[in-house]
């Protein structure tokens, strides 16, 4: 089977191993922390898909995560049964991202300007949500609550069965299915010509344009898909935390997901997932102590990774591993032809 450069392919063995680990985990340990790590992983996966493959860095991706959380909370308070709120928590961030993405990409805005706009959108949501403390800020039956956020809404239930609530281990399985499902969707997208065009846009935008592809449409589409996944992650987060506060839109939250993806590795899907799980765990552990400030560690990690391993940990390890295999093969006397790394680092000079 041919290995396509830059797109990668699914390793069913590893995938099934992942499924097995996620499946049996609750037998051995508590599921509270793993649930939120799965939501973080899904969030990082959504940014990793867009940034690593289409080369679009949204500095404020947490806007869509937060929107997913807020939309779920507001909708479930008004509706009661959680199926429609869940769908809305995916659809509304996707729609918002489609509008903002279309505005940016059809206006030929890229790089640093895209960074500013995505960040400003997040800031607007942050400032606005912080200022909604008064009684006049209600959507249906839901008070937005300003700085204190929205507490005490119903958690997910089995579709059609409002009395069968999903929390604890069932919520963990929902998060696991969401993550695995989105991973498969990402792989499917990348395996199709749509995904290849995205990688083409990352590599050389004008060439794709000259070949006749509608580049702004592709960019808008992937931005929207990514926001949908971020919204789903936000919905899972809301169900886990059982409260939504404006801190989901904060600069810290915006930085965190970028650090996860960057550390895990650009241009891979498993990198952001592992990065988010590892650093999310670090964050939770650091949150329990007060000796060292949390941002200090996060900042230090980001600086060191950008300087020392700008490709991220997973691509670096993969490169090292393949190098070893090649050396071993050469020593054994049957040298294999050099293959381009499936996750070749691609950064603009």
């Amino acid at each position: 089977m041919r290995v396509w450069p830059s797109v990668g392919q699914i390793r069913w063995g590893w995938f099934l191993l992942g499924v097995a680990v996620l499946l049996v985990w609750p037998v051995f340990a508590d599921t509270h922390t793993p649930t939120i790590l799965l939501a973080y992983a899904l969030f990082a996966l959504s940014l990793g898909l867009m940034w690593g493959y289409a080369g679009l860095l949204s500095f404020g991706h947490t806007a869509y995560f937060g929107l997913g959380a807020y939309v779920y909370a507001i909708a479930v308070i008004n509706i009661g049964e959680s199926t429609v709120p869940l769908l809305l928590a995916i659809a509304i961030p996707a729609a918002v991202a489609a509008v903002i993405g279309a505005m940016m990409f059809y206006g030929r805005i890229s790089d640093v300007y895209m960074g500013v706009i995505t960040l400003v959108v997040t800031l607007i949501l942050f400032k606005f949500m912080n200022a909604t403390a008064g009684d006049q800020y209600v959507i249906g039956a839901a008070r937005l609550g300003g700085f204190n956020g929205i507490p005490g809404f119903a958690v997910l239930n089995v579709p059609g069965m409002p009395e069968w609530s999903l929390f604890g281990t069932p919520l963990y399985y929902v998060a696991a299915v969401a993550l695995l499902g989105c991973y498969l969707i990402c792989r499917w997208i990348l395996a199709r010509s749509f995904g290849r065009v995205l990688v083409g846009i990352r590599e050389n935008e004008s060439r794709c344009e000259l070949l006749g592809y509608n580049v702004p449409a592709y960019k808008t589409a992937i931005f929207s898909i990514s926001a949908a996944m971020a919204g789903l992650a936000g919905c899972l987060f809301a169900n886990w935390a059982e409260i939504v506060t404006p801190s989901v839109f904060s600069l810290r939250a915006a930085a965190e997901v970028i650090v996860w993806v960057m550390v895990g590795g650009l241009g891979t899907l498993v990198g952001p997932i592992l990065g988010a799980m590892a650093l999310g765990m670090v964050k939770l552990l650091l949150g329990e102590q007060t000796v060292i400030d949390n941002s200090l560690i996060l900042g230090l990690i980001l600086v060191i990774v950008v300087l020392a391993i700008p490709r991220g940990v997973v691509p670096a390890v993969q490169g090292w591993w393949r190098g070893r295999i090649r050396i071993r093969a050469q020593r054994a006397g049957h040298a294999r032809p050099r293959r381009r790394l499936a996750t070749a680092a691609t950064r603009q000079p």
């Binding site: 860095l57 500095f59 505005m103 940016m104 206006g107 030929r108 805005i109 790089d111 640093v112 300007y113 960074g115 500013v116 706009i117 960040l119 400003v120 959108v121 800031l123 607007i124 400032k127 606005f128 912080n130 200022a131 600069l251 810290r252 930085a255 970028i258 650090v259 960057m262 060292i292 400030d293 949390n294 941002s295 200090l296 560690i297 996060l298 900042g299 230090l300 990690i301 980001l302 600086v303 950008v306 300087l307 700008p310 950064r347 603009q348 000079p349």
Partner: protein, 289 residues
């Protein structure tokens, strides 16, 4: 009548405020195409330096006008040597590294000064304007902002250093072949930018109060005014966008609430960038500085 004067003064103050916090970022971005996301933390460090000096009994004017810029310039020099210089030409990586740096600085300041809000006493008393009580210190901010921009303009326009800096900005190759090391110019530029941020933080400390996370409040405003000011026009571009954002944000604030004023400013930034991705200066003042 008095009310009109109050509104005008408040608008002028907001413009001066945005221009002041953007100056350091504008110089670094305009000259080096480096977006320093730790800029807000540089401003915050200037404020904390003033606070520390004030607590130590040093004259507050000396602290905010001399010590704060010097200390932050030193921090800027360290940052340039240890981080930025490895990342020239990689804009997104620079943004990420400086973002990490900003988190790092927040953490360090929290460790030293704690995470509660502190304030520095304003050294100029308020005055009465008709029936309104006004902060006298706001006038000082306006004055220092004007003085700063005039000084930067004079240096860039009339001194040899300014000439070299502009030359290195226009064409690093030519400047380098004439014997000026662009890396050296970049190092000095970054340090000067940091010093200006420190100055802004020092003089603003009595007005805004201090928190380790207060850099976040500056970075957004500075970031949007510098980017929408446009590259290649450090002074005119930044002044034009500060005027626009300052005026809009204050006018809307007077008409409704400060939060809506700020939201209006951010929304305007999105619209402006959409219409003029090259910035205001890229569209209107092509040949200015």
């Amino acid at each position: 009548m008095d009310y009109a004067a109050v509104v005008v003064l408040e608008i002028l103050y907001m413009i001066a405020f945005i221009a002041l916090i953007s100056a350091g970022l504008a110089i670094v971005f305009g000259m080096m195409r480096v977006i320093n996301l730790a800029h807000g933390e540089f401003v915050m460090l200037g404020g904390y330096t003033t606070l520390a000096c004030d607590r130590a009994g040093i004259n507050i004017w000396f602290a905010m006008l001399v010590i704060a810029p010097l200390v932050v310039a030193l921090v800027g020099l360290l940052v340039e040597r240890l981080v930025i210089r490895f990342l020239y030409g990689r804009m997104i990586d620079t943004m990420l590294a400086t973002w990490g740096l900003s988190l790092l600085l927040i953490g360090v300041v929290t460790l030293i000064f704690g995470s509660s809000a502190v304030s520095v006493p304003a050294p100029i008393p308020g005055y009465q304007l008709g029936t309104y009580q006004m902060g006298g210190y706001n006038l000082f901010i306006i004055a220092i902002s004007v003085a700063l921009y005039v000084a930067v303009w004079l240096v860039l326009r009339y001194t040899r250093i300014g000439l070299v800096a502009r030359g290195a900005m226009q064409s690093p190759e030519v400047a380098s072949s004439l014997g000026y090391n662009p890396r050296m110019v970049y190092m000095v530029t970054f340090t000067v930018g940091a010093a200006l941020s420190g100055l802004a933080g020092g003089v603003l400390a009595p007005l805004t109060g201090l928190l380790p996370s207060s850099g976040g409040a500056y970075i957004a405003k500075a970031f949007i005014s510098v980017i929408s000011g446009g590259v290649g026009a450090v002074i005119t571009g930044t002044l034009a966008s500060s005027t626009l954002y300052g005026a809009i944000s204050q006018i809307v604030s007077f008409a409704s609430t400060p939060v809506i004023g700020e939201l209006a400013m951010l929304a305007l930034a999105i619209i402006l960038l959409r219409l003029m991705p090259q910035g205001i200066s890229g569209r209107f003042f092509r040949d200015s500085q």
